[in-house]
Each structure stands twice: as structure tokens, then as C-alpha cells.
């Protein structure tokens, strides 16, 4: 895997976040967060549960409005866009939800048809059925095309959600804890799939997790979100050598799991 400096050299960032603040009542979850994501890069945002990771990526697609700070995606300031402009950007940004968020009244085929029928230009004249089958094949779910989400296992749901995210051919994919709640074997399958997808479709990814082991495998760069700010960042190797107790805590977690697991 290429390191982050190689990827960054001479490129414009796809995502640029500067000084983002967000408060819910008295609870200020983001206190001035900064981040950049470059083409073909995999950046992992690592943080404890409730640290504001999901809020941060929801700011990127306009689902949450930041109180302060700048959020630029593909050069456009997200909070300043009107609905039409926001919808245009959203086609370029795939979002894999933690709970998969498949439409449970639709079959898998209809789940994939739903975004495609609203944006047919995204497959550039390609046959709709062919595009759906091709995506499902790439996530290993072609056989499940007529199944309802309730008939799919947890891992299959995650793969189906990834297929739905990919059907609009986005430039960026935001993953919200993609392996949480999955057994290690299925989690590894999802990780393999994410790497395959990135290679096949040339996407950049912003991945949210609290699992350092997963971050090690998938990331070019890790950003630690602690106390609402970008606490520190670096490659897995750089962070693993850190003497900072807050950074070490994430590695201890991996060690203890390896020890007991």
C-alpha cells in the first residue's frame, strides 16, 4: 500500500475540513477538527465511542450542519450549497452506514435500482440490469439479487450496502464503522472487499472505526479524534511508536484483545 506522502504530493484534497465545531446542547463533540483526504487515499479516523466520529462524516454530506468551521468536498463548501448543488455532490460521495441502512421494503435489486433510476447518467448508457449484476458480482452477492434485506446475514447486509454505495460510482466513500458487530472472519471479508473496491473503482476512503487492528490493515494514514480535535495523525507504524499515553491506549486495546482472543 502506498504511503500518504506519495499520495498527497501535488494533489488537491478531495475533502478538506478546517476548524469544525459541533455542539449538541451542552455537549461539544467537535472542538475545531481539521482533516484532508487526497485521491486514492484511505484515511482512518480513530476514536472512542461517542467521540463525534459519525457526526464528523455526516457533516461531509450535509446530514449534520457544523456550528463553525469550513467543510469542503470536491472544492465546494458543503454548508453553503443549496439542495440541488448538495444532491450533485452527494452522488460523488458514497456513504456506508453502520447498520447498513438497506431499504427493508425493497429487494436487493430494488435497493440498487433506487439510486440508479434517479441518477441514470451515472452508468453512462450502460444497461441497468447489467450494472446491478456487475456490482453485486464484485461483492459476491449476485445469487441474492431477489432477496429481501431481512433474509440477508449481517455480513451480506454490509456487502449489499457497499454495492448500493458503489452503484453511483462515487469518487469518495465514507465508511461508518464497517466491521462493527461482525465476527472476525466476516470482518476480514469486508476489509478485503473494501481494498478490492478501492483498487477496482479508484476511490478515496474515509473510514471511521475504534478498532486499531482494522485501521492497521486498511489505512494509509490514521487520524486520532480525541477530545473533539485532531489529536494526532500518522501511519500505523508511526503511531505504534508513540509514547503518548492517549495514543498508546488504542494499541493496548489491540494487545489485550490479541492476548485474550
Amino acid at each position: 500500500m502506498k504511503n500518504s506522502e506519495t499520495i498527497k504530493s501535488g494533489l488537491q484534497p478531495l475533502i478538506e475540513i478546517k476548524g469544525v465545531k459541533k455542539k449538541f446542547g451542552e455537549n461539544e463533540v467537535l472542538k475545531g477538527f481539521d482533516l484532508q483526504l487526497f485521491p486514492k487515499e484511505n484515511v482512518v479516523i480513530l476514536g472512542k465511542s461517542g467521540s463525534g466520529k459519525t457526526v464528523l462524516i455526516k457533516c461531509l454530506v450535509g446530514l449534520v450542519e457544523p456550528d463553525e468551521g469550513a467543510v469542503h468536498v470536491l472544492g465546494q463548501s458543503i454548508p453553503d450549497l443549496n439542495q440541488h448543488e448538495l444532491d450533485k455532490i452527494r452522488k460523488e460521495v458514497g456513504f456506508l452506514f453502520q447498520g447498513s441502512a438497506l431499504y427493508d421494503s425493497m429487494t436487493l435489486r430494488e435497493n440498487l435500482q433506487f439510486p440508479l433510476r434517479r441518477h441514470p447518467e451515472r452508468i453512462k448508457g450502460e444497461n441497468e440490469e447489467q450494472a446491478i449484476r456487475q456490482i453485486l458480482q464484485s461483492v459476491g452477492l449476485e445469487h441474492a439479487i431477489n432477496l429481501m434485506p431481512a433474509e440477508l446475514s449481517g455480513g451480506m447486509k454490509r456487502r449489499a450496502a457497499l454495492a448500493r454505495t458503489l452503484i453511483l460510482r462515487p469518487q469518495i466513500i465514507l465508511y461508518d464503522e464497517p466491521t462493527t458487530g461482525l465476527d472476525p472472519i466476516t470482518a476480514n471479508e469486508i476489509i478485503g472487499l473494501m481494498l478490492k473496491v478501492q483498487e477496482q473503482y479508484d476511490t478515496a476512503s474515509l473510514i471511521i472505526t475504534h478498532d486499531m487492528d482494522f485501521a492497521r490493515v486498511i489505512s494509509n494514514r490514521i487520524v486520532i479524534l480525541q477530545d473533539g480535535i485532531n489529536y494526532t495523525e500518522g501511519t500505523y507504524l508511526e503511531l505504534s511508536k508513540s509514547q503518548d499515553p492517549k495514543v498508546k491506549a488504542f494499541f493496548k486495546d489491540v494487545q489485550s484483545r490479541n492476548q485474550y482472543g
Binding site: Q83, R90, F95, F97, G99, A101, Y103, D104, F114
Partner: protein
């Protein structure tokens, strides 16, 4: 005292939010592209799948009303006017109200729970991030389906209710079907049928708006879904009575003229 004031304030705020939600529906109701497929699906779910329940309730109401009224009507020597009385009361009030209260329970809670569950499981967010307007797809279609289907359900309940009434009359008395329905329809005027039909559209609007509002703005967690379904029924039922009162007051002006 503070708690009463807070509750009053919350009620006003909630009324404002429901009104704003209804306003958004009107602003998007005719906007293209229209989701015809989803509208037909909702019409089927809301109209066809409620038909049996509404018809059964209407039939029982027709039976009960006639059975209860019959002894009194005999006492006053007015049993021959039973079809007239049942048809007027059914078409003007009983049919629409029984139907919409049943629908507030079945349809209102169904929409509240479905959209609430979609909100909680982030399906609405997923729609939004795929560049689709979830309000247009989910809310506009459901409210339109309620508006279009409620009058049909009310007509069905009225028809079956009159049949129930005829069944009692033909069993206990000796009225033929032709005579019964001739008397029932001759008692009705356009002033009975039109206001009842018009108010049914508004009843549909109320059930649709409240069900969608509660579900679309559901709180997180499974408790939020339950609360959305429950409050959708309570608020819709209350508003239905208010709309009915308003409709009766307006119709009364028409009758007075």
C-alpha cells in the same frame, strides 16, 4: 403551574411544527418528478388493505345503530322512517367518523411506525445521501394516498353500513330491499353527500400529515418508533374531531341558508 405552562407551550410549538410540515407537503405536492409507482403502492396499502376492516366496522355499526334505534322508533310510531334516519346519520356523520377513526389507528400508526423505523435505522439518511429527496418520495406519496383513498373508504363504509341496517330491517320488519334503499336514498340530498365527501379528503390529509410528521421526526431507538406510532394515533384522532367540528359548523351555515 410551570408544568402546565410548559405543556401548553409545547402544544403550541408542536402545532406550529405540524403546520410547517403540512406547508412543506403543499410546496412539494405537485413538484416533479412525481413518484407514481410509490403512490400506487401506497394507495394499495392504504386503500385496499384497509377496505375489509372499514367495511366490517361499517356493517356492524349499521346493524347496531338499527337494532338500538328500532324500539324507540316503534314507540314513536316512526319505524317506517328508519331507512331515512339511518342513511342521513350514516352519510353525514357516522360513516365518515367511524372510518377515519379506524384509519387513524390503522394507517396513522402504520405510517408513523414505518417512517419512524426508517429514521432510526438511517434509511431516510441513506436516501438523502444518494441524492434523493426522502420527503418527496416517502411523505408526499403517503399523504396523497391518504387524501385519495379516505373518501373511497368512507363511501365503502356508508354502503356496507346501510346494508347492515337493511339486514336488521328485513329480518325484524318486512321491508324489501328496493323499498329500503328507495327510502334511504330519497332522504338524502346533495347537501348531505357533498360536505361528507369533501371533509373525507381533509380527514385523509390530517391522517397522512400527522402519521408522516411523527414518523419522519421520530426520536432515536425502538422506544422512539413506538412513541411515533402511538402519538400519531392520539394527535390524528384529536385533530380529526376538530376538523369534523369545523366541517359541521360550515355545513350548518349551508343548511341554514
Amino acid at each position: 403551574m410551570d408544568s402546565i405552562l410548559n405543556r401548553l407551550r409545547y402544544s403550541f410549538e408542536e402545532t406550529g411544527r405540524v403546520a410547517a410540515f403540512a406547508g412543506r407537503f403543499f410546496s412539494e405536492a405537485f413538484r416533479r418528478p412525481f413518484e407514481w409507482r410509490e403512490l400506487f403502492r401506497q394507495c394499495y396499502l392504504i386503500g385496499y388493505q384497509s377496505l375489509f376492516l372499514v367495511a366490517a366496522t361499517g356493517f356492524i355499526m349499521g346493524l347496531v345503530l338499527t337494532l338500538q334505534l328500532r324500539p324507540t322508533m316503534i314507540e314513536f310510531g316512526a319505524v317506517a322512517n328508519m331507512p331515512n334516519m339511518v342513511s342521513i346519520s350514516f352519510i353525514r356523520e357516522i360513516g365518515p367518523m367511524v372510518t377515519v377513526l379506524i384509519c387513524a389507528g390503522k394507517i396513522g400508526s402504520g405510517i408513523g411506525a414505518e417512517l419512524g423505523s426508517m429514521r432510526v435505522t438511517e434509511q431516510i439518511d441513506a436516501m438523502e445521501v444518494s441524492g434523493t429527496n426522502p420527503f418527496h418520495f416517502l411523505v408526499v406519496t403517503r399523504i396523497w394516498a391518504c387524501i385519495l383513498m379516505l373518501p373511497f373508504l368512507v363511501i365503502a363504509a356508508d354502503t356496507v353500513g346501510l346494508m347492515g341496517s337493511f339486514l336488521v330491517e328485513s329480518t325484524k320488519g318486512s321491508v324489501s330491499m328496493i323499498l329500503y334503499f328507495d327510502k334511504a336514498f330519497s332522504a338524502l340530498s346533495i347537501g348531505d353527500v357533498v360536505p361528507a365527501t369533501i371533509k373525507s379528503f381533509f380527514f385523509g390529509l390530517v391522517i397522512g400529515v400527522v402519521g408522516c410528521y411523527k414518523g419522519y421526526n421520530s426520536e432515536k431507538g425502538t422506544a422512539g418508533v413506538g412513541k411515533a406510532a402511538n402519538t400519531a394515533v392520539v394527535l390524528a384522532s384529536l385533530l380529526l374531531f376538530l376538523v369534523d367540528l369545523l366541517a359541521v359548523l360550515i355545513a350548518d351555515i349551508y343548511y341554514t341558508i
